[in-house]
Amino acid sequence: MKVHQFIYAFFLLIVAGCTKLDIPPKNIISDPEIFGTSEGVLSYMARMYSTLPMEDFRYNYETNGLFNNGGTKYKQQSALTGEALGRDTQGADAENASYWDAAYAAIRTANMLLETLPQYQEFHSEDEVKTYLAEARFIRGFIYYSLVKRYGGVPKVDMVIDYPASVSLEETLLPRAAEEEIWDFIGEDLDFAMNNLPENNQKGRATKYAAAAFKSRVMLHAGSIAKYNTIEEIDRGNRICGIPSQRATDYFKAAYEASRILDETTKHRLYKDEWVAGDAEAQAQNFTNIFLKDTYENIFVRYYKDPESLHNFDDSAQPMQTSSGGNNSELCPTLDFIEMFDGIEKDANGHFVFLDANDKYKLYESPLDAFVNAEPRLKGTVILPMSEFMGQTIDIRRGIWTGSSQNGISPLMPAGSVVNYTNVYNESSPLKLSSNFAFNNDPGNQITLKDGSRKKRSGESGVVSGWDFGNISGFYLRKYLNPEQTDNNGNKSTQSWIEIRYAEVLLNRAEAAYELLTAGATSPGGGDYRQDAFDCINQIRERAGATLLVSPSAINSIETIRTERRKELAFEHKTYWDLKRWRIMEAEQSNKRYRVLYPFYSTDADKYFLDARYMESKGGAANYTFNFDSRNYYQMIPPAEITKNPNCKQNPGY
């Protein structure tokens, strides 16, 4: 009996253990938590936005992954385009890092949301679902744009590849699609986004107008490739590099139409709150503030925040004398760039006039005198020598001339010279130069002026003869630099990156209109493309304080529109891709040395003179000669990716 009791008790114990153990683990977040709650979807969205491949302040073209990089930015994209020279950007580099696997990871993230969210739509309102899906399509288009503009046609993945469950490894080795197909695919994604996104969304997220504005950029790019590209590469019957030229008009039309969607609203327009007609100073300040304030001109923006998300733009571009340590002076605008602007005395070739009728240097009380009538936008974009920044006079000087000025001062170097001044002038000559900052800052090396005061040879910010910190072109960048950011050593900056602003939409529209005009296309609404381009350009020029075009007939060359674009959008990481899509980079950078404007001070005249010349060599590899390699119109696909996927054909020339 006792034995039986034990047996029963034993069985009872076993049966008591029969609860179902197959429960979802509590420490793993699965689809229902992510896609079934708005918190889940928002956190998913946040990740998609934060990995969006924007060439913003954290973009670094020499670091792998390219985007979202916190390291010091020695090399700068804006110093590859002739907008600026940088101490460390000494020639025509290509992006020597790749964006490929990160792109496909991000595409998968977007595809995952597009496929999974509809299964959970009962947990969200209809509008929310519509917005989420449209945002994912916008983001996917954005990623594909950053691929197609670099590599041409890439493998097209529009769904989650379910490896290894339903496809074999071989089936994941996708060949490249035709370039045209990828551009059209982006167009479809952006159309969907445009038709489904709300007009207003949370700060930093895409809106209907962001999608429309972005579409105008993308389609304009595609049109330019169709029109100007000559590279042709076929793989499995698909043209993976280049677009048939007859498609150009389609794309330009799409760009034009997309830009006109912005006409529907007054939400975005050119920022003119501080603009005063006829007041050059106010207009310059207005232009500077576009990049420092969160204005209604902005259409799509990435925000930064202290302390979670910071960048080091101020560290990179800071003038030497206002730098609180770390890096400085990586972006020094060239004279070639300055000469694009109005209101500067220029010769028949468009070059800055720095000599008088007798071929002697013009003398100025201050270098600023040469720019008294310069276009306000120029003053809003660059720091001219001896102008104010952060409460200081930015003192840029190449050297001090201690020789006589009685009969004028003749040019220091023969015209066209590319060598350093020190090759011609040594310490015993009347031209007093500093080899580096240690020498310049030594009080013993200062030069005594007529009034007995003493002056540093190379000012507070350079330029010195050797390869050192400090200015190298005679100018500094003002655009985006925060004058409040006194501590700028390392990652301290929080300016927002304006990815798309209204001025770009106007410029896209003008360019597309002019391309349509030259193609002989007729506007569907019966409007006049030339008149429309003229209106867009003049809106930009009026806000810039530039000379207005007199009549639509002044829009008689694509150059007018392109130059306007290069001035307005300079240093916004747009020009590099513009020069590439116009396929003019090779012609522009063939054994090219950009020009600089160096202020000198004459002790005898007690005045400044300015020397315009080619950038001087700084010894070693630092000769600043630019030779664009035409292979780079289509960049190299990372060889490791081709090893992984032999069906993916490399671009020509690599």
Binding site: I231, P414, T643, G653, Y654
Partner: protein, 250 residues
């Protein structure tokens, strides 16, 4: 305790020395050399230095059907010499401003020499010697013809240049923009769609057309004429060149 310490140290030492295997493979030491000659004239094929000249692509198929390519470039006179190649079986394919060649399988071991006879896309040649004028300018006469009979390589000229440099390395990779003369089709008396006939085109170029005159002291300059048509390979539109002329400007 001391003994334990000693033992641990001995063990550690033994452990570390087991990693001391020879891992020092010999450096690549096979040689691949040769030159490119013009099939039509038998003269050395004139080209640029670097990627705008001749690129020799070697695919090492000894290990893999899909290897990462190894590229190197020729000298200006179309000769090449590379004595740092691993021995193995390679697919070799040169490309430059000439009618494309097929990939060729070569076993590289010891010294391998190869002479490539190529048909240039354009024949460019000096006519006569440069003439030094009284005003310190120099006049050159050149002739451009197509190098191949195949109509697909007889395309309109896009550009020609009289490259001028202060040193003997002269071409699109090294020239002085001040003295170099760039001619578009119109300046050559052609249109953007002219297909040359068999007589080609003869140009007379003088350095007075350049942006700047030579400086007023005597020195030597190096001249080379290059032209290119619409044909490009490897996404690079390469020039065909003449040989280099040096002229002493008095």
């Amino acid at each position: 305790m001391k003994a334990l310490k000693l033992l641990t140290n001995i063990c550690l030492l033994l452990f570390m020395t087991t990693g001391c295997e020879q891992d020092n493979f010999p450096a690549p030491q096979e040689t691949f050399k040769g030159r490119f000659v013009d099939k039509n004239s038998g003269k050395p094929f004139q080209t640029a230095i670097g990627n705008t000249g001749i690129r020799i692509r070697m695919m090492e198929y000894s290990w893999d059907d899909n290897p990462q390519p190894y590229d190197f470039n020729c000298k200006m006179d179309g000769s090449f010499y590379n004595d740092k190649i691993f021995s193995g079986s390679y697919g070799v394919k040169p490309s430059g401003a000439f009618v494309p060649l097929e990939e060729e399988r070569l076993e590289i071991k010891g010294v391998v020499e190869r002479v490539y006879e190529v048909e240039p896309i354009l024949n460019v040649e000096w006519i006569g010697e440069p003439v030094l004028n009284a005003d310190r300018t120099v006049t050159f006469k050149v002739k451009i013809t197509y190098g191949s009979e195949d109509p697909q390589y007889r395309t309109p000229l896009v550009e020609s240049r009289l490259f001028v440099s202060e040193n003997q390395y002269v071409g699109d990779f090294s020239f002085s923009p001040n003295y170099t003369i760039i001619l578009n089709p119109a300046q050559m008396g052609l249109t953007a769609s002219t297909i040359l006939d068999d007589d080609g085109v003869v140009l007379t170029i003088t350095t007075a057309q350049a942006q700047k005159a030579f400086p007023d002291y005597s020195r030597k300059y190096f001249f080379r004429f290059g032209a290119r048509s619409q044909i490009s390979f490897d996404a690079t539109n390469r020039y065909n060149y003449t040989d280099v002329k040096e002229v002493l400007i008095p």
